[in-house]
Symmetry: C2
Subunit: 240 residues, 2 copies
Protein backbone atom coordinates (compact mmCIF):
# COMPACT_ATOMS: atom_id res chain seq x y z
CA UNK A 1 0.00 0.00 0.00
CA UNK A 2 2.61 2.51 0.98
CA UNK A 3 4.87 2.07 -2.02
CA UNK A 4 3.62 3.03 -5.43
CA UNK A 5 4.65 2.38 -8.98
CA UNK A 6 7.39 4.71 -10.03
CA UNK A 7 6.03 6.17 -13.20
CA UNK A 8 2.50 6.81 -14.23
CA UNK A 9 1.15 7.36 -17.74
CA UNK A 10 -1.70 9.53 -16.48
CA UNK A 11 0.58 12.29 -15.34
CA UNK A 12 1.58 15.04 -17.64
CA UNK A 13 4.22 16.28 -15.20
CA UNK A 14 7.01 13.80 -14.83
CA UNK A 15 9.27 15.89 -12.62
CA UNK A 16 9.34 18.51 -9.92
CA UNK A 17 10.57 21.20 -12.30
CA UNK A 18 7.26 21.17 -14.16
CA UNK A 19 4.99 20.58 -11.17
CA UNK A 20 2.59 23.38 -10.35
CA UNK A 21 3.36 22.91 -6.67
CA UNK A 22 7.12 23.31 -6.85
CA UNK A 23 7.08 26.78 -5.31
CA UNK A 24 5.44 25.40 -2.16
CA UNK A 25 6.88 21.95 -1.93
CA UNK A 26 10.29 20.40 -1.30
CA UNK A 27 12.05 22.03 -4.31
CA UNK A 28 11.36 25.41 -2.71
CA UNK A 29 14.88 25.86 -1.40
CA UNK A 30 16.79 24.29 -4.28
CA UNK A 31 18.75 25.30 -7.39
CA UNK A 32 17.72 23.91 -10.75
CA UNK A 33 20.47 21.30 -10.86
CA UNK A 34 19.62 20.19 -7.33
CA UNK A 35 15.97 19.78 -8.23
CA UNK A 36 17.08 17.30 -10.87
CA UNK A 37 18.80 15.23 -8.17
CA UNK A 38 15.71 15.34 -6.01
CA UNK A 39 13.65 14.29 -9.00
CA UNK A 40 15.60 11.11 -9.34
CA UNK A 41 14.59 9.81 -5.95
CA UNK A 42 10.96 10.94 -6.01
CA UNK A 43 8.34 8.46 -7.09
CA UNK A 44 5.09 9.74 -8.49
CA UNK A 45 1.97 7.79 -7.79
CA UNK A 46 -1.09 7.13 -9.86
CA UNK A 47 -4.29 8.80 -8.73
CA UNK A 48 -5.70 7.47 -5.48
CA UNK A 49 -9.44 7.25 -5.19
CA UNK A 50 -11.40 8.51 -2.18
CA UNK A 51 -10.84 6.61 1.09
CA UNK A 52 -7.71 4.84 -0.11
CA UNK A 53 -4.98 4.62 2.47
CA UNK A 54 -1.48 5.86 1.63
CA UNK A 55 -0.17 4.07 4.72
CA UNK A 56 -1.51 2.63 7.94
CA UNK A 57 -0.36 3.21 11.50
CA UNK A 58 2.10 0.52 12.49
CA UNK A 59 3.49 -0.07 9.00
CA UNK A 60 7.21 0.24 8.55
CA UNK A 61 8.24 3.80 7.82
CA UNK A 62 9.98 4.15 4.48
CA UNK A 63 8.92 7.43 2.91
CA UNK A 64 7.48 10.84 3.44
CA UNK A 65 4.88 12.09 0.96
CA UNK A 66 3.95 15.30 -0.81
CA UNK A 67 0.39 16.06 -1.89
CA UNK A 68 0.18 16.83 -5.59
CA UNK A 69 -3.59 17.11 -5.91
CA UNK A 70 -6.65 16.37 -3.82
CA UNK A 71 -6.47 16.20 -0.04
CA UNK A 72 -5.31 13.78 2.61
CA UNK A 73 -6.15 13.34 6.27
CA UNK A 74 -3.87 11.89 8.94
CA UNK A 75 -5.29 10.23 12.01
CA UNK A 76 -4.25 8.05 14.90
CA UNK A 77 -6.25 5.34 16.61
CA UNK A 78 -5.92 5.06 20.38
CA UNK A 79 -5.87 1.83 22.38
CA UNK A 80 -9.59 1.92 22.95
CA UNK A 81 -10.19 2.22 19.23
CA UNK A 82 -11.23 5.80 18.86
CA UNK A 83 -9.93 7.91 16.05
CA UNK A 84 -8.17 11.24 16.36
CA UNK A 85 -7.70 13.28 13.20
CA UNK A 86 -4.27 14.91 13.50
CA UNK A 87 -4.08 16.84 10.26
CA UNK A 88 -5.45 17.73 6.85
CA UNK A 89 -2.94 17.94 4.01
CA UNK A 90 -3.51 20.04 0.89
CA UNK A 91 -1.50 20.21 -2.36
CA UNK A 92 2.12 21.27 -1.86
CA UNK A 93 2.22 20.00 1.74
CA UNK A 94 4.40 17.21 3.14
CA UNK A 95 3.15 14.48 5.46
CA UNK A 96 4.40 11.26 7.03
CA UNK A 97 7.15 12.78 9.19
CA UNK A 98 5.70 11.29 12.35
CA UNK A 99 7.07 7.92 11.20
CA UNK A 100 10.74 8.90 11.51
CA UNK A 101 10.94 8.61 15.29
CA UNK A 102 9.92 4.99 15.70
CA UNK A 103 10.57 3.56 12.26
CA UNK A 104 6.90 2.99 11.72
CA UNK A 105 4.09 5.36 11.04
CA UNK A 106 2.11 6.37 14.12
CA UNK A 107 -0.64 7.87 11.94
CA UNK A 108 -2.68 6.43 9.14
CA UNK A 109 -3.14 8.59 6.04
CA UNK A 110 -6.02 8.43 3.61
CA UNK A 111 -7.31 10.31 0.60
CA UNK A 112 -10.41 12.37 1.47
CA UNK A 113 -11.15 12.66 -2.27
CA UNK A 114 -9.40 11.60 -5.46
CA UNK A 115 -5.80 12.62 -4.93
CA UNK A 116 -2.25 12.18 -6.12
CA UNK A 117 0.86 12.11 -3.97
CA UNK A 118 4.61 11.94 -4.53
CA UNK A 119 6.57 9.44 -2.47
CA UNK A 120 10.02 10.43 -1.19
CA UNK A 121 12.02 7.50 0.21
CA UNK A 122 13.42 8.83 3.45
CA UNK A 123 16.78 7.06 3.40
CA UNK A 124 17.53 8.55 -0.01
CA UNK A 125 16.36 11.94 1.21
CA UNK A 126 18.78 11.69 4.12
CA UNK A 127 21.67 10.85 1.79
CA UNK A 128 20.75 13.71 -0.50
CA UNK A 129 20.53 16.05 2.49
CA UNK A 130 24.19 15.44 3.15
CA UNK A 131 25.07 16.39 -0.42
CA UNK A 132 22.72 19.39 -0.47
CA UNK A 133 22.85 21.25 2.85
CA UNK A 134 20.01 23.58 1.89
CA UNK A 135 17.81 20.49 1.52
CA UNK A 136 18.78 19.34 5.01
CA UNK A 137 17.98 22.76 6.31
CA UNK A 138 14.66 22.91 4.49
CA UNK A 139 13.65 19.56 5.88
CA UNK A 140 14.55 20.56 9.44
CA UNK A 141 12.37 23.59 8.88
CA UNK A 142 9.47 21.50 7.62
CA UNK A 143 9.61 19.29 10.69
CA UNK A 144 9.87 22.27 12.98
CA UNK A 145 6.87 23.83 11.26
CA UNK A 146 4.93 20.66 11.91
CA UNK A 147 5.85 21.01 15.59
CA UNK A 148 4.67 24.62 15.77
CA UNK A 149 1.46 23.70 13.92
CA UNK A 150 0.73 20.94 16.40
CA UNK A 151 1.39 23.35 19.24
CA UNK A 152 -1.10 25.81 17.78
CA UNK A 153 -3.66 23.05 17.72
CA UNK A 154 -2.83 22.19 21.34
CA UNK A 155 -3.50 25.78 22.35
CA UNK A 156 -6.69 25.85 20.32
CA UNK A 157 -8.00 22.69 21.97
CA UNK A 158 -6.95 23.70 25.41
CA UNK A 159 -8.09 27.32 25.49
CA UNK A 160 -10.64 28.13 22.80
CA UNK A 161 -14.40 27.82 22.40
CA UNK A 162 -16.15 25.85 19.67
CA UNK A 163 -16.71 28.98 17.58
CA UNK A 164 -13.09 30.03 17.90
CA UNK A 165 -11.89 26.59 16.87
CA UNK A 166 -14.06 26.45 13.77
CA UNK A 167 -13.15 30.02 12.79
CA UNK A 168 -9.46 29.16 13.13
CA UNK A 169 -9.77 26.09 10.92
CA UNK A 170 -11.64 28.03 8.25
CA UNK A 171 -8.99 30.75 8.23
CA UNK A 172 -6.24 28.16 8.03
CA UNK A 173 -7.81 26.57 4.97
CA UNK A 174 -8.46 29.96 3.45
CA UNK A 175 -4.80 30.93 3.89
CA UNK A 176 -3.54 27.69 2.47
CA UNK A 177 -5.75 28.24 -0.56
CA UNK A 178 -4.29 31.69 -1.03
CA UNK A 179 -0.79 30.22 -0.97
CA UNK A 180 -1.89 28.08 -3.90
CA UNK A 181 -3.26 31.15 -5.70
CA UNK A 182 -6.82 30.02 -5.19
CA UNK A 183 -9.62 32.04 -3.70
CA UNK A 184 -9.37 32.57 0.03
CA UNK A 185 -13.00 33.62 0.15
CA UNK A 186 -14.77 30.81 -1.67
CA UNK A 187 -13.70 27.22 -1.35
CA UNK A 188 -14.87 23.70 -0.89
CA UNK A 189 -14.10 21.90 2.36
CA UNK A 190 -12.64 18.53 1.46
CA UNK A 191 -13.54 16.96 4.80
CA UNK A 192 -16.81 15.92 6.44
CA UNK A 193 -18.35 17.60 9.46
CA UNK A 194 -17.38 14.53 11.44
CA UNK A 195 -13.71 15.00 10.49
CA UNK A 196 -13.85 18.68 11.40
CA UNK A 197 -15.36 17.85 14.76
CA UNK A 198 -12.89 15.08 15.42
CA UNK A 199 -9.94 17.30 14.52
CA UNK A 200 -11.20 20.17 16.69
CA UNK A 201 -12.29 18.08 19.66
CA UNK A 202 -16.00 18.76 19.08
CA UNK A 203 -19.02 16.66 18.18
CA UNK A 204 -20.63 16.77 14.74
CA UNK A 205 -23.67 18.43 16.24
CA UNK A 206 -21.64 21.29 17.65
CA UNK A 207 -19.86 21.84 14.34
CA UNK A 208 -23.20 21.94 12.61
CA UNK A 209 -24.59 24.43 15.09
CA UNK A 210 -21.54 26.67 14.78
CA UNK A 211 -21.92 26.75 11.00
CA UNK A 212 -25.55 27.59 11.55
CA UNK A 213 -24.73 30.48 13.88
CA UNK A 214 -22.03 31.79 11.55
CA UNK A 215 -24.58 31.92 8.75
CA UNK A 216 -27.13 33.68 10.91
CA UNK A 217 -24.51 36.31 11.77
CA UNK A 218 -23.71 36.80 8.05
CA UNK A 219 -20.20 35.65 8.66
CA UNK A 220 -20.34 32.82 6.15
CA UNK A 221 -22.46 31.41 3.42
CA UNK A 222 -22.49 27.65 3.80
CA UNK A 223 -23.85 25.29 1.18
CA UNK A 224 -22.95 21.81 2.30
CA UNK A 225 -19.16 21.73 1.82
CA UNK A 226 -19.06 24.90 -0.22
CA UNK A 227 -17.98 27.86 1.93
CA UNK A 228 -18.05 31.56 1.21
CA UNK A 229 -16.49 33.87 3.76
CA UNK A 230 -18.53 37.09 3.96
CA UNK A 231 -16.83 38.82 6.86
CA UNK A 232 -13.12 38.18 7.24
CA UNK A 233 -12.70 40.76 9.99
CA UNK A 234 -15.20 39.09 12.25
CA UNK A 235 -13.77 35.69 11.42
CA UNK A 236 -10.25 36.85 12.27
CA UNK A 237 -11.48 38.46 15.45
CA UNK A 238 -12.95 35.13 16.50
CA UNK A 239 -9.84 33.18 15.56
CA UNK A 240 -7.60 35.79 17.17
Amino acid sequence: MSSMDAKCPHNTETNCGDCRMNALCLPLALQTNEVAQLDEIIQRGRPLQKDRHIYNAGEEFKSVFAVRSGSIKSYTVSNDGQEQVTGFHLPGEIFGMDGIAHNHYTNSALAMETAAVCEIPFSRLQELSIAIPSLQNHFFQLMSKEITNDQHLITLLSKNSAEERVATLLLSISNRNLRRKLSGARFRLPMSRADIGNYLGLTVETVSRVFGRFQKQDLLKVDKKEIEVLDFDKLRALAN
Copy 2:
Protein backbone atom coordinates in the same frame (compact mmCIF):
# COMPACT_ATOMS: atom_id res chain seq x y z
CA MET B 1 19.42 35.72 27.82
CA SER B 2 19.54 32.92 25.32
CA SER B 3 23.29 32.65 25.00
CA MET B 4 25.36 31.60 27.96
CA ASP B 5 28.98 31.78 28.92
CA ALA B 6 30.88 28.94 27.41
CA LYS B 7 32.58 27.38 30.40
CA CYS B 8 31.56 27.28 33.99
CA PRO B 9 33.74 26.60 36.99
CA HIS B 10 30.88 25.12 38.99
CA ASN B 11 30.56 22.09 36.77
CA THR B 12 32.52 18.99 37.47
CA GLU B 13 31.59 17.50 34.11
CA THR B 14 33.25 19.41 31.33
CA ASN B 15 32.18 17.21 28.44
CA CYS B 16 29.46 14.91 27.19
CA GLY B 17 31.57 11.81 27.71
CA ASP B 18 31.43 12.27 31.49
CA CYS B 19 27.87 13.55 31.72
CA ARG B 20 25.44 11.34 33.59
CA MET B 21 22.83 12.02 30.91
CA ASN B 22 24.83 10.92 27.90
CA ALA B 23 22.90 7.70 27.46
CA LEU B 24 19.65 9.66 27.01
CA CYS B 25 20.82 12.79 25.31
CA LEU B 26 22.34 13.74 21.97
CA PRO B 27 25.47 11.52 22.26
CA LEU B 28 23.15 8.51 22.32
CA ALA B 29 23.79 7.57 18.70
CA LEU B 30 27.46 8.46 18.50
CA GLN B 31 30.89 6.80 18.61
CA THR B 32 33.43 8.00 21.16
CA ASN B 33 35.40 10.05 18.64
CA GLU B 34 32.22 11.62 17.35
CA VAL B 35 31.20 12.61 20.86
CA ALA B 36 34.43 14.57 21.08
CA GLN B 37 33.42 16.54 17.99
CA LEU B 38 30.01 17.22 19.44
CA ASP B 39 31.65 18.32 22.67
CA GLU B 40 33.52 21.04 20.88
CA ILE B 41 30.38 22.83 19.78
CA ILE B 42 28.39 22.40 22.98
CA GLN B 43 28.38 25.21 25.49
CA ARG B 44 27.66 24.43 29.10
CA GLY B 45 25.88 27.03 31.14
CA ARG B 46 26.15 27.98 34.77
CA PRO B 47 23.24 27.02 37.01
CA LEU B 48 20.05 28.91 36.30
CA GLN B 49 17.91 29.86 39.24
CA LYS B 50 14.16 29.29 39.39
CA ASP B 51 12.05 31.36 36.97
CA ARG B 52 14.99 32.39 34.83
CA HIS B 53 14.29 32.35 31.11
CA ILE B 54 16.55 30.41 28.77
CA TYR B 55 14.96 32.22 25.84
CA ASN B 56 11.84 34.21 25.09
CA ALA B 57 9.35 33.77 22.30
CA GLY B 58 10.26 36.05 19.43
CA GLU B 59 14.00 36.03 20.08
CA GLU B 60 16.24 34.99 17.23
CA PHE B 61 16.73 31.25 17.12
CA LYS B 62 20.35 30.24 17.49
CA SER B 63 20.52 27.07 19.55
CA VAL B 64 18.71 24.06 20.83
CA PHE B 65 19.21 23.07 24.44
CA ALA B 66 19.62 19.93 26.51
CA VAL B 67 18.56 19.73 30.15
CA ARG B 68 21.41 18.64 32.39
CA SER B 69 19.70 19.02 35.74
CA GLY B 70 16.52 20.54 37.11
CA SER B 71 13.48 21.05 34.92
CA ILE B 72 12.30 23.46 32.28
CA LYS B 73 8.89 24.43 30.96
CA SER B 74 8.08 25.69 27.46
CA TYR B 75 5.10 27.90 26.85
CA THR B 76 3.60 30.13 24.21
CA VAL B 77 1.65 33.32 24.70
CA SER B 78 -1.29 33.92 22.37
CA ASN B 79 -2.34 37.27 20.91
CA ASP B 80 -4.75 37.92 23.73
CA GLY B 81 -1.99 37.36 26.25
CA GLN B 82 -2.88 34.00 27.68
CA GLU B 83 -0.24 31.44 28.33
CA GLN B 84 -0.21 27.87 27.03
CA VAL B 85 2.30 25.46 28.55
CA THR B 86 3.50 23.27 25.68
CA GLY B 87 5.95 21.01 27.44
CA PHE B 88 7.94 20.06 30.52
CA HIS B 89 11.56 19.10 29.96
CA LEU B 90 13.52 16.85 32.33
CA PRO B 91 17.23 15.98 32.41
CA GLY B 92 18.46 14.32 29.22
CA GLU B 93 15.75 15.91 27.08
CA ILE B 94 16.21 18.38 24.22
CA PHE B 95 14.13 21.51 23.73
CA GLY B 96 14.02 24.57 21.50
CA MET B 97 13.37 22.80 18.20
CA ASP B 98 10.24 24.85 17.57
CA GLY B 99 12.52 27.77 16.70
CA ILE B 100 13.97 26.17 13.57
CA ALA B 101 10.96 26.81 11.34
CA HIS B 102 10.77 30.57 11.62
CA ASN B 103 14.24 31.52 12.76
CA HIS B 104 12.95 32.64 16.07
CA TYR B 105 11.60 30.82 19.04
CA THR B 106 7.82 30.50 19.14
CA ASN B 107 7.96 29.33 22.75
CA SER B 108 9.53 30.83 25.83
CA ALA B 109 11.50 28.49 28.07
CA LEU B 110 12.10 28.93 31.77
CA ALA B 111 13.59 27.03 34.66
CA MET B 112 10.91 25.68 37.01
CA GLU B 113 13.59 25.18 39.66
CA THR B 114 17.35 25.56 39.79
CA ALA B 115 18.57 23.94 36.60
CA ALA B 116 21.48 23.58 34.23
CA VAL B 117 21.27 23.30 30.46
CA CYS B 118 23.69 22.72 27.60
CA GLU B 119 23.45 25.00 24.60
CA ILE B 120 23.97 23.54 21.14
CA PRO B 121 24.36 26.17 18.40
CA PHE B 122 22.12 24.93 15.63
CA SER B 123 24.21 26.04 12.67
CA ARG B 124 27.18 24.10 14.02
CA LEU B 125 24.96 21.13 14.68
CA GLN B 126 23.80 21.22 11.07
CA GLU B 127 27.38 21.27 9.82
CA LEU B 128 28.32 18.43 12.09
CA SER B 129 25.27 16.48 10.91
CA ILE B 130 26.71 16.49 7.43
CA ALA B 131 29.97 15.03 8.69
CA ILE B 132 28.25 12.52 11.00
CA PRO B 133 25.20 11.02 9.29
CA SER B 134 24.09 9.17 12.41
CA LEU B 135 23.84 12.54 14.14
CA GLN B 136 21.63 13.85 11.35
CA ASN B 137 19.50 10.78 11.69
CA HIS B 138 19.30 11.05 15.45
CA PHE B 139 18.24 14.65 15.22
CA PHE B 140 15.53 13.88 12.67
CA GLN B 141 14.29 11.25 15.10
CA LEU B 142 14.27 13.69 17.99
CA MET B 143 12.17 16.13 16.02
CA SER B 144 9.83 13.40 14.88
CA LYS B 145 9.44 12.26 18.47
CA GLU B 146 8.49 15.79 19.41
CA ILE B 147 5.81 15.64 16.71
CA THR B 148 4.39 12.35 17.98
CA ASN B 149 4.46 13.66 21.56
CA ASP B 150 2.52 16.74 20.56
CA GLN B 151 0.02 14.55 18.73
CA HIS B 152 -0.49 12.45 21.86
CA LEU B 153 -1.25 15.62 23.74
CA ILE B 154 -3.69 16.69 21.03
CA THR B 155 -5.55 13.40 21.41
CA LEU B 156 -5.50 13.72 25.19
CA LEU B 157 -6.96 17.23 25.08
CA SER B 158 -9.49 16.40 22.46
CA LYS B 159 -10.83 13.10 23.75
CA ASN B 160 -10.03 12.51 27.43
CA SER B 161 -11.57 13.49 30.75
CA ALA B 162 -9.82 15.46 33.48
CA GLU B 163 -8.93 12.28 35.40
CA GLU B 164 -7.53 10.61 32.29
CA ARG B 165 -5.41 13.64 31.48
CA VAL B 166 -3.91 13.87 34.94
CA ALA B 167 -3.28 10.12 35.07
CA THR B 168 -1.51 10.29 31.72
CA LEU B 169 0.76 13.11 32.83
CA LEU B 170 1.68 11.31 36.04
CA LEU B 171 2.56 8.16 34.12
CA SER B 172 4.61 10.14 31.65
CA ILE B 173 6.66 11.67 34.43
CA SER B 174 6.98 8.33 36.16
CA ASN B 175 8.30 6.74 32.94
CA ARG B 176 10.75 9.53 32.31
CA ASN B 177 12.06 9.11 35.84
CA LEU B 178 12.55 5.41 35.22
CA ARG B 179 14.58 6.19 32.11
CA ARG B 180 16.85 8.20 34.37
CA LYS B 181 17.09 5.28 36.82
CA LEU B 182 15.07 7.10 39.41
CA SER B 183 12.00 5.80 41.17
CA GLY B 184 8.89 5.62 39.02
CA ALA B 185 6.73 5.28 42.11
CA ARG B 186 7.87 8.16 44.30
CA PHE B 187 8.83 11.50 42.84
CA ARG B 188 8.50 15.21 43.20
CA LEU B 189 6.51 17.15 40.61
CA PRO B 190 8.62 20.08 39.53
CA MET B 191 5.65 22.12 38.33
CA SER B 192 2.79 23.91 40.06
CA ARG B 193 -0.84 22.85 39.91
CA ALA B 194 -1.42 25.87 37.69
CA ASP B 195 1.17 24.62 35.19
CA ILE B 196 -0.34 21.15 35.21
CA GLY B 197 -3.79 22.58 34.58
CA ASN B 198 -2.57 24.90 31.89
CA TYR B 199 -0.71 22.09 30.13
CA LEU B 200 -3.71 19.75 30.32
CA GLY B 201 -6.37 22.30 29.43
CA LEU B 202 -7.92 22.29 32.92
CA THR B 203 -8.33 24.81 35.71
CA VAL B 204 -6.28 24.65 38.92
CA GLU B 205 -9.43 23.77 40.84
CA THR B 206 -10.08 20.74 38.68
CA VAL B 207 -6.50 19.52 39.02
CA SER B 208 -6.78 19.90 42.76
CA ARG B 209 -10.05 17.97 42.86
CA VAL B 210 -8.62 15.17 40.71
CA PHE B 211 -5.65 14.78 43.07
CA GLY B 212 -8.15 14.70 45.90
CA ARG B 213 -10.22 11.96 44.27
CA PHE B 214 -7.12 9.94 43.39
CA GLN B 215 -6.10 10.01 47.04
CA LYS B 216 -9.55 8.99 48.21
CA GLN B 217 -9.42 6.02 45.83
CA ASP B 218 -5.98 5.02 47.21
CA LEU B 219 -4.48 5.51 43.82
CA LEU B 220 -1.92 8.06 44.97
CA LYS B 221 -0.45 9.54 48.07
CA VAL B 222 -0.06 13.26 47.51
CA ASP B 223 1.86 15.54 49.78
CA LYS B 224 2.05 18.90 48.08
CA LYS B 225 4.39 18.20 45.14
CA GLU B 226 5.57 14.89 46.48
CA ILE B 227 3.77 12.01 44.74
CA GLU B 228 3.66 8.35 45.56
CA VAL B 229 1.88 6.05 43.14
CA LEU B 230 0.06 3.32 45.06
CA ASP B 231 -1.83 1.60 42.26
CA PHE B 232 -0.13 1.58 38.88
CA ASP B 233 -2.68 -0.74 37.31
CA LYS B 234 -5.57 1.58 38.03
CA LEU B 235 -3.50 4.57 36.92
CA ARG B 236 -2.61 2.85 33.64
CA ALA B 237 -6.23 1.84 33.13
CA LEU B 238 -7.24 5.48 33.46
CA ALA B 239 -4.50 6.70 31.16
CA ASN B 240 -5.17 3.93 28.65
